[in-house]
Symmetry: C2
């Protein structure tokens, strides 16, 4: 596997490699210090990575997903190959941590890490997806794929991963050059999914919840001019929108109030699925590429 465009560092195992749009798709497994479990992520190296450094777009998936959903269904590799951007898609939680109750619900525990660092007993040892995504994952990518310039990074996500993308960008506007999201959970402290996850991982103190709420972060710390314009796509026929799980209007209002450029596109008739993501992913990858390659 040793090559200038991507051999694995000693602590990273390449589980599979596949040619894709002239580039290389690699499923990677490594032992995570953050989660104390094996973590899986997939990297797409565009053709340009064979001969020069390329920037990176992280993609954070939603509830129940693994690193596979985006890579298999979104169609992003085509545009990433064209633009010369690497893609990195991590898993959504630790797997097999053995925490009591982690497999009882589809929206909490396994597959539902919510990109927070848990502080509650039982969860705080393993459920540390915020540290994993913002620190350990970039370091692992940089160590094993020297062609990927992790100092030029942007982030995108879907649903729970849209929440994650917004939060990691708003808390680290120096680490990411742009952020976008599909069907994002924009104000988790106010929605059932967020309340369940945050009370479980972070406990009863709702002040701690606000550190992981995009709308609250924008209200308190925004604007984030270094992130440029935030791009949000939302389907009008998304059942989770009408169920009050996403609340994009709160984030849009906070951006307006703080003067943060934000383009919220309500896409008529689209649902919450990867068919929605695939229909508009080109706009997102292109926007990030414009920022990353500027």
């Amino acid at each position: 596997m040793a090559s200038s465009s991507g051999g694995a560092a000693a602590d990273l195992e390449i589980k599979s490699e596949t040619a894709c749009f002239g580039g290389r798709l690699l499923k990677c497994v490594h032992q995570s210090k953050a989660t104390k479990t094996q973590m899986t992520f997939t990297v797409f190296l565009p053709p340009a990575a064979a001969s020069s450094a390329v920037p990176v777009l992280y993609y954070l998936s939603g509830l129940t997903c693994t690193d596979d959903n985006f890579i298999q269904k979104a169609g992003a590799q085509r545009i990433a190959a064209l633009r010369g951007v690497a893609l990195v898609a991590p898993d959504t939680s630790p797997r097999g941590a053995g925490v009591a109750g982690e497999d009882e619900g589809w929206d909490f525990g396994t597959g539902a890490g919510f990109y927070v660092d848990a502080t509650e007993a039982g969860w705080k040892e393993n459920y540390r997806m915020y540290a994993y995504v913002t620190e350990e994952l970039p370091a692992a990518v940089a160590a094993s794929f020297p062609a990927v310039d992790t100092s030029k990074a942007s982030v995108c996500g879907h649903s729970m991963g849209g929440h994650g993308a917004l939060v990691v960008a708003f808390r680290n506007p120096d680490k990411y050059r742009s952020v976008s999201a599909f069907s994002a959970i924009c104000n988790p402290v106010e929605c059932p999914w967020g309340k369940k996850a945050f009370s479980g991982y972070l406990g009863k103190d709702e002040a701690a919840w606000k550190e992981y709420d995009a709308t609250e972060l924008m209200r308190r710390d925004g604007p984030f001019p270094s992130l440029g314009k935030i791009l949000l796509d939302q389907g009008s026929a998304d059942n989770f929108l009408t169920a009050g799980q996403l609340i994009p209007e709160a984030l849009v209002k906070a951006c307006e109030d703080k003067g943060q450029p934000c383009e919220m596109r309500m896409q008529d008739g689209y649902d919450h699925s990867y068919f929605f993501i695939s229909s508009f992913i080109e706009d997102h990858v292109s926007m990030h590429a414009d920022r990353l390659l500027a």
Copy 2:
């Protein structure tokens, strides 16, 4: 569901509808006379179908697949939307027919209909995917989606479905305007998958097998000038190629001998997966669209 661009005929149930690339993606279920089971297929109606008739590209999937794999993973809807072509992706076999042994192997029975009309006892009542694909499916599409002009049809497929695409086109060059395939089983009478399937479905008389072998049909009945140029993509790192399951060289030789235009592209480093298909699907849909819209 009644609309000029696609309401369901009385015997067809729309299980789901999803917006996708400005068009409509519909999962359909109907009772099949050919297989005597419920059959599922997915239709993609491009945006153009809302206002005018559009031609259709059938896609036949490989072993173990359902109607979902292509629709979720290949990225074809983007190009079909751009070109104004409908996509129709059927399932790969009857499901739950209750035939003894149909679930014992991954390469025979359920998920492995091989697009033949079985003649052997036990199988001949249900395993009639050739009749289903060439007759019943187009009739069902025409009846429920009047915006789809099934008189303008092309066919593409992958692996077992590449075999199916080639065979249905070579046996019906008046019904299809073009044919292409990824990683096709090109000479099934000479490969282990084909021998197992054909002996099981068609019995010991190998003369009957040749009616479903693309290379044999080309040798006997070719060329098929009405089909134009056949496009074949094959990955050089495809394990099934090196295992002797695909034998594309036999078909290429038969085409050469008969004067059939055929472009066989050996794609360096690609495997048998949908990442391979997604990397080159644009060329296939574009070639078919050129023929269908000429």
